[in-house]
Amino acid sequence: MPRIPIGATIEAFIDFLVSNFSFLTIAFTRVMEKVISFLEAGLLFLPPWLFIVIAAGLAFWLTKKRGIALFTLFGLLLIWNMGLWVATVSTITLVLIATLTALCIGVPIGIIAALNTGINKVVQPILDVMQTMPAFVYLIPAIPFFGLGKVAAIFATVIFSMPPAIRLTCLGIQQVPRELVECADAFGSNKWQKLFKLQLPLATPTIMAGVNQTVMLALSMVVIAAMIGARGLGGEVWRAIQRLQMGSGFEAGLGIVVVAIILDRVLQQVGTKKR
């Protein structure tokens, strides 16, 4: 029985894209690299202690919980103390850009999928593939398009972290009670009025849960993406693995855990802060 050439076809397709369009993606990479290093430089421009105080203050302002603010303060101080400050800022920058991109693409797709059953039927299986495909696989095509480095890492991270944003946006809108949607219709609302005055406000807690998931996935992917040169905390872990340095690997891992807990707690509070 002849072998079905799935792998060969995909490879041919990617090759075709690379040879015809990679000049665009490479140009994009150059621009993005500038943006990323500008952002990183901006965040590093602040002395760490000031950054840490501002972050703790922001955490308190967003959550109104003293515990979360204190954890932010001491967690970040610990990272600074372990000498991982630059790597952490780099990781946060990557997570920030990847998450914002994933949300900017994912939330609108989620809205469209919720309102259109035809599109939903197409989107769902794609999401299944995106979520079950091993994360490392995304790294391979990222390299020819974006070269080794942070942009390729962001590309892989966006793809990996987008599904929950789409799924939970879609779910949140579909969960708006039918009677309320009927009511909005009965009072003569058009599609946009219905979306912005009813569906999105009611879906916000669910969408925020999706945002939280996206951030967490982005953070975990940023570590994996260290393999293609993302550096940051992931890079520290990766180097520790290669050199079998258990201590510094654990320290870098601890840094990731601290960042993850801060982001998770703050976003959860923002998501559930409802009347």
Partner: protein, 405 residues
């Protein structure tokens, strides 16, 4: 409102809704007279509404009534096309709603059709006032003006001072008042009320019914009210449309449906109604066999009337035909023996009377302690009839027999 009285506000013609993929085949079957079950078996389609025809006049409350699954909620949603009808037409002010484009339909929904929902359907993220304003906001009315209108509507339903609370702060009855205010704020001609009070406790429900009736006295809206509760239908409906399996079984006033059920289904439906709540004094009273006039008759003629008709008591009228008292046979014969000639010397002027619209249920305790017939007196003081225990029981028994036939 200056409408031509002969023109109904809402006219529903052969309205049909079939759910399912093969609705065209199902429609053909339905038109050839197949039953709901046959259609489901042959095509897999559910019949929601089947060839419904009825009208609602301006300022009238029509209650569409039926058990769950009878298609009444589907019917009301076909009127504002929350559900697209499969066939048939809906006219509002002679305008065919089923032919409107989506934009035209939105205008009609905004300006003519207010809707109140069974589970209130209040937006949980908006305050009471913002909920009430919703329709105005959609119409892009300016914020100060819509707040003013919303506050007026809330006042109308007795929720003044609750504007800035959220729906979850309110009890069920109050939430539905907000639902009603939200519909009223738009000042629509027509209110569609889908089981509006069904989710409320019996006591609150009864209060809301009373309130709707009194609001309606000042508003004169055209109201289409959906209900599965016959007592509610009898209480608030000027007319009742009874549905079964998507079809209209009978249309008529409460009395017409109770006393003259169109078929066995309606009979079974109404058999549990407490007839004493629907029947009024007027419908169980009988004509007095004889009366005497103060100016024309004395004790002797009164006694003769009573003996002739076999009465133990007779009511006395003044020259304007108003009841002013009564005389018993004993009193009259004593007076005759004494040689008394004037009725007003012996007449009893203290007596219990009821108005013609007193429910039969209220008559029973009054009758229990009354040795004489109960006079039914109209607002002008004239004797409309009398109720004797026998006539009351006979009337109740007869309606009962009708129901069980």
């Amino acid at each position: 409102m200056s409408e031509i009285p002969s023109e109904p506000k809402i006219r529903i013609e052969n309205l049909t809704k079939i759910f399912g993929a093969q609705s065209k085949d199902a429609l053909k079957l339905l038109q050839s007279g197949a039953s709901k079950d046959e259609i489901l078996e042959k095509t897999g389609c559910g019949v929601g509404v089947a060839n419904a025809n009825f009208t609602v006049d301006s300022g009238e409350i029509v209650v569409v009534m039926g058990l769950s699954g009878s298609g009444k909620s589907t019917l009301v949603r076909c009127i504002n096309r929350l559900i697209e009808p499969t066939a048939g037409k809906v006219f509002i002010d002679n305008q065919d709603i089923t032919a409107l484009s989506m934009n035209e339909l939105r205008r009609v929904r905004l300006t003519k059709l207010g809707m109140v929902f069974q589970n209130f359907a209040l937006f949980p993220h908006r305050t009471v006032c913002q909920n009430t304003e919703y329709g105005l906001e959609i119409q892009k009315v300016d914020p100060a003006k819509r707040r003013e209108k919303a506050v007026t509507a809330l006042e109308q339903v007795g929720l003044k001072g609750w504007e800035d609370y959220y729906p979850h702060n309110l009890s069920g009855g109050m939430q539905q008042r907000v639902g009603l205010a939200r519909a009223l704020a738009l000042d629509p001609d027509i209110l569609l009320m889908d089981e509006a009070f069904s989710a409320l406790d019996p006591l609150i429900r009864s209060d809301m019914q009373d309130e709707l009736i009194s609001l309606q006295e000042s508003m004169r809206k055209t109201i289409l009210f959906i209900s599965h509760d016959l007592d509610e239908a009898l209480k608030i409906g000027d007319r009742i449309v009874l549905m079964k399996d998507g079809a209209v079984v009978q249309t008529g006033t409460a009395e017409q449906i109770l006393t003259n059920p169109a078929n066995e289904y309606v009979e079974r439906f109404v058999e549990n109604v407490d007839i004493t709540k629907v029947l009024t004094a007027e419908s169980v009273m009988i004509k007095p066999k004889a009366v005497v006039f103060l100016s024309a008759h004395g004790p002797k003629s009164a006694l003769r009337f009573m003996q002739k008709q076999g009465l133990s008591q007779i009511f006395v009228h003044d020259e304007k035909h108003k009841v002013i008292g009564y005389v018993t046979a004993d009193m009259a014969s004593d007076a005759v023996k004494r040689g008394e000639t004037e009725l007003h010397h012996i007449m009893q002027t203290e007596f219990v009377s009821v108005s013609p619209d007193t429910p039969a249920a209220d008559l029973i305790p009054i009758m229990a302690n009354l040795p004489y017939p109960l006079p039914v007196v109209g607002p002008n003081g004239k004797l409309r009839g009398v109720i004797i225990r026998g006539s009351l029981l006979a009337a109740l028994a007869e309606r009962g027999r009708n129901n069980n036939a």
